[in-house]
């Protein structure tokens, strides 16, 4: 089971808020520091490894940029949202960020409460209120990628890409 302290965000949180355009070329460390800098300055200094994000509808709308990677690099244990943009979800799979759609999640949590996520039965429990919610199950192949570090390690094992980043 995964548990963590909840940070709440609203509907239509877009990729550019998580990974601003000017940082596209800056590398992972600088990108991590810029998450939500336009809409919630200072948040990256407050968030702790193991924390959980609770979002509203259409979380991650926007670009194909690796915004999910920045959340993973901040140590976010899970993203739980009412609904998640399909491209953002792909990048959550690609970069190993646990991301679940969970109808009712936004109303079920206040910021600072503790969420418990069970991947055995795709449930989310609010430890503070005991509210129990059902998340949308994820196909096993995608869940495996999400919790085992994403797609690159798989492509490396298959001998399709070189093991190290940034050659050349």
């Amino acid at each position: 089971m995964i548990s963590g302290t909840v940070w709440k965000f609203g509907d239509d949180i877009n990729t550019d808020l998580m990974l601003p355009g000017p940082l596209l070329f800056a590398g992972e460390e600088a990108q991590k520091r810029a998450v939500f800098s336009a809409n919630r300055p200072g948040w990256v200094d407050q968030v702790q490894v193991g924390d959980i994000i609770v979002g509203g509808l259409n979380f991650g709308m926007g670009s194909s940029r690796p915004a999910a990677r920045s959340l993973r690099n901040l140590g976010i244990a899970a993203l739980l949202a009412e609904s998640i943009n399909g491209l953002f979800f792909r990048n959550a799979v690609n970069f190993g960020l646990l991301a679940l759609e969970c109808p009712g999640i936004h109303a079920a949590f206040e910021e600072g409460q503790t969420a418990e996520v069970s991947l055995a039965d795709f449930t989310v429990r609010n430890r503070d209120t005991a509210a129990l919610l059902k998340a949308q199950p994820i196909p096993a192949m995608l869940l495996d990628l999400m919790i085992q570090g994403g797609l690159y390690p798989h492509l490396e094992r298959e001998g399709l890409i070189e093991p190290k980043a940034g050659r050349g």
Binding site: L17, N85, G86, F95, Y152, L155, E162
Partner: protein, 421 residues
């Protein structure tokens, strides 16, 4: 047994399944994987050791062309080497074949009806205008498509838009998008399918605008029904065989929505989001602007440049306004030169840039400073999208953007033309 929508039929064909329906998880063969200059950035790329099939890959430099800095120049050099290593034929470097990937794919009809096309840019759904199951995927996904020749899709339900009537003069596909986003909001996890009696009267460029902008609806796939106009367009540009896919008569849609194009009026999206954020131009008319931009995969078409030229012809832009126009491809730029649109725009005071994603993503060629206001006919108005996060970005059609450049504030094309439009 109920029938299938367009994308369900394409998924079935490319996954070897007889039938695909919402809720399914489909592993499909990729007919074309498009790589960009951004695919080769030193901070992001992985070194590819083998590819599945070099004739199923196109490489198109677009975000930073010509190279805007040392990093993009290095990425271009690395990408050229990749093209040489694997003998990629369809390569669009800086030069006469340069352009925004989705627009190059359209100009050259690389996007064949009934096929699966992927690219690591969110507006890849633009190729849905060509009856493709086309979507943006992540950079790792793209490497999987390039090396394995396959990708996966979660199959969502489909919203069908039946378009009827005809757009009034001065009203464009961008206004149709702003209407859809305003009226129905996001379409997360849903596909959109466009068809109906209005289709023959809707040009290919207009369809591309609507398909590209469907990314902003958060749609998974946005696919147009094929018609003679589309099939002729493709056959004139690409000799490869293809099988267009039509929806089954008893296809299952989550909902069918009728849209009468006659009733659509020019709209503007207010800053920061397009979801349920559209208002009639009059509601924000008078808002001062410092920059007006027309470009991107959504609005850099020949039809867009023609419309902008029509609005500004014989006029001058207001002092203090930067009016930037970026044709989507160099081929469009050349055609606009031949038609006289470029001269008209430049005489009005526009700066016409080479084809690139450029200002649309705040990369180069028109980045916004603190506190500035821009009205844009491009893909996104997110906070910070085009530069400083304190800048305000309004989104509208090329006609409304051109009219605003003339007025120096947000204005409708009708108003600046004295009602003549």
């Amino acid at each position: 047994m109920a029938g299938m929508t367009i994308v369900e039929k394409i998924f079935a064909r490319n996954s070897g399944e007889e039938r695909v329906q919402p809720g399914d998880f489909a592993v499909v063969d990729v007919d074309l994987a498009v790589m960009l200059d951004m695919s080769f950035l030193a901070t992001e790329r992985r070194h590819i050791l083998k590819v599945h099939a070099s004739d199923k890959i196109a490489v198109i430099f677009d975000h930073m062309v010509p190279a805007a800095d040392k990093r993009s120049a290095e990425a271009h050099a690395y990408g050229r080497d990749f093209v040489r290593r694997f003998g990629i034929r369809r390569f669009h470097d800086v030069g006469p074949e340069q352009g925004i990937s989705h627009a190059v794919v359209a100009d050259r009809a690389y996007a064949l009806p009934g096929t699966v096309l992927v690219c690591s840019d969110s507006h890849t759904c633009a190729s849905g205008a060509f009856n493709c199951a086309a979507r943006g995927i992540g950079a790792p996904d793209l490497l999987a498509a390039v090396t394995l020749g396959q990708t996966w899709f979660r199959v969502g339900e489909t919203i069908r838009y039946d378009l009827s009537g005809r757009l009034q003069q001065g009203v464009s596909a961008k206004d149709v998008f702003l209407y859809l986003a305003g009226a129905w909001g996001h379409h997360t996890n849903q596909n959109v399918e466009f068809g109906g009696p209005a289709l023959p009267g809707l040009g290919i460029d207009a369809r591309r605008t609507l398909a590209a902008m469907s990314a902003e609806l958060s749609a998974e796939f946005a696919t147009f029904e094929p018609d003679d106009r589309l099939i002729d367009y493709v056959r004139e540009r690409n000799l490869a065989p293809f099988t267009p896919q039509y929806p089954d008569e008893d296809a299952q849609y989550a909902e069918r929505r009728a849209v009468n194009l006659d009733e659509i009026q020019p709209l503007v999206a207010l800053p920061d989001s397009v979801i349920r954020n559209s208002v009639p131009v009059d509601e924000v008319a008078g808002e001062p602007i410092q920059q007006a931009f027309i470009g991107s995969c959504a609005n850099g078409t020949l039809e867009d440049l023609a419309e902008a030229a029509r609005v500004v012809k014989g006029r001058k832009i207001a002092p203090g306004v930067r009016f930037l126009v970026t044709p989507a491809t160099q081929a469009v730029f050349s055609a606009a030169l031949r038609w006289g649109y470029i001269a008209t725009l430049m005489e009005a005071g526009a700066v016409v840039t080479p084809a690139t994603c450029g200002a649309c993503f705040g990369g180069h060629m028109g980045v916004l400073g603190p506190g500035e206001t821009c009205i844009t006919a491009s893909t996104r108005n997110f906070k910070g999208r085009m530069g400083d996060p304190s800048a305000k970005i309004y989104m509208a059609s090329p006609a409304t953007v051109a009219a605003s450049a003339i007025a120096g504030h947000i204005a409708s094309a009708d108003e600046t033309a004295g009602g003549a439009a």
